[in-house]
Amino acid sequence: MKYLLMIALLLPAFAFAGVAKDMADDPVMERRMMHLAEKVRCLVCQSEPVSNSHSDWANDVRQIMREKMTAGASDQEILDILVERFGKSVLFDPPVDKETIPLWSAPFVLLFVGSGILVYQLRKRKGLLVEAQLSAQDEQRVAELLNENPASSPATVTSNQAKDSQA
């Protein structure tokens, strides 16, 4: 009974093996197709390439790619066919043209604007710096503080060094 159950559990695997193979007969072409499909966006799953998707639509696109390749179409011709039907957004790497120039220039525009703001802010901050006016009393205090306990300072350093070497 246990074995029968185990065999029964294996049956779905056989059922799966019976599904039509979704591959070109020519492995070289299949590799070329998958490489090309990496550049194509799966429109029903958005951020996934057609090469990775199991959606019905992606399957269809891969099948059409195989057919076009068998018919002798070049990679570029196949991409053109897809763009013609689904628009440039079907490509992960859309060409630079009138329509996509805002997309392509956005990082540079942001960089330019950002560095402009940075330079402006730094200049402004520099202008705010004013040399402090010290009174004679302050000057004297500074001198006192700087010369305070000249003997104790080296001692502190030594004790720090001792700690460092211990560590």
């Binding site: 269809d60 039907r85 689904f86 628009g87 079907v90």
Partner: protein, 175 residues
Amino acid sequence: MMRFILPLVIFLVLAGFLYAGLGRDTREVPSPLVGKAAPAFVLPLLHDANKQFSPQQMQGQVWLLNVWASWCGACKDEHPLLMDLSRKNIVPIVGLDYKDKADDGAATLRKSGDPYTLVIADADGKVGFDYGVYGVPETYVIDKQGIIKYKLIGALNTKNLQEKILPLVAELQAQ
């Protein structure tokens, strides 16, 4: 003062972009086919495989091409609207049964009503591919010269029908 205004402006701009993004349907990819001639094809009718249909037959009239399938859930949502539109007899509606078994498609229409002037069967989806179909249902408005004027991805609703499709049909019919 600037120290408060600048972050506020940046915040408002960002919030504006994000708000606009919220309302957008990511499935809505602008179709490059709008403004171009509807791709030619010859396909058998669903109800009579011996008869064929090609878009040239619609030359001279404005028509809707509605892509649907028996397996498509959203098609059921828009079905009553299509029935209503067909009763009003404003514009011929050609149904394209996309990647469907002919029996299933015909059974669906028998059961829930057939709003179409005629139905064509695109069993392997090749014509659908040429029309850039990737989400069913889709509806195309095609003018008298056979140019695609509008493409709706997703189901018809009273809003897009009343605000976009019907006014466009009326405008094209007047030309």
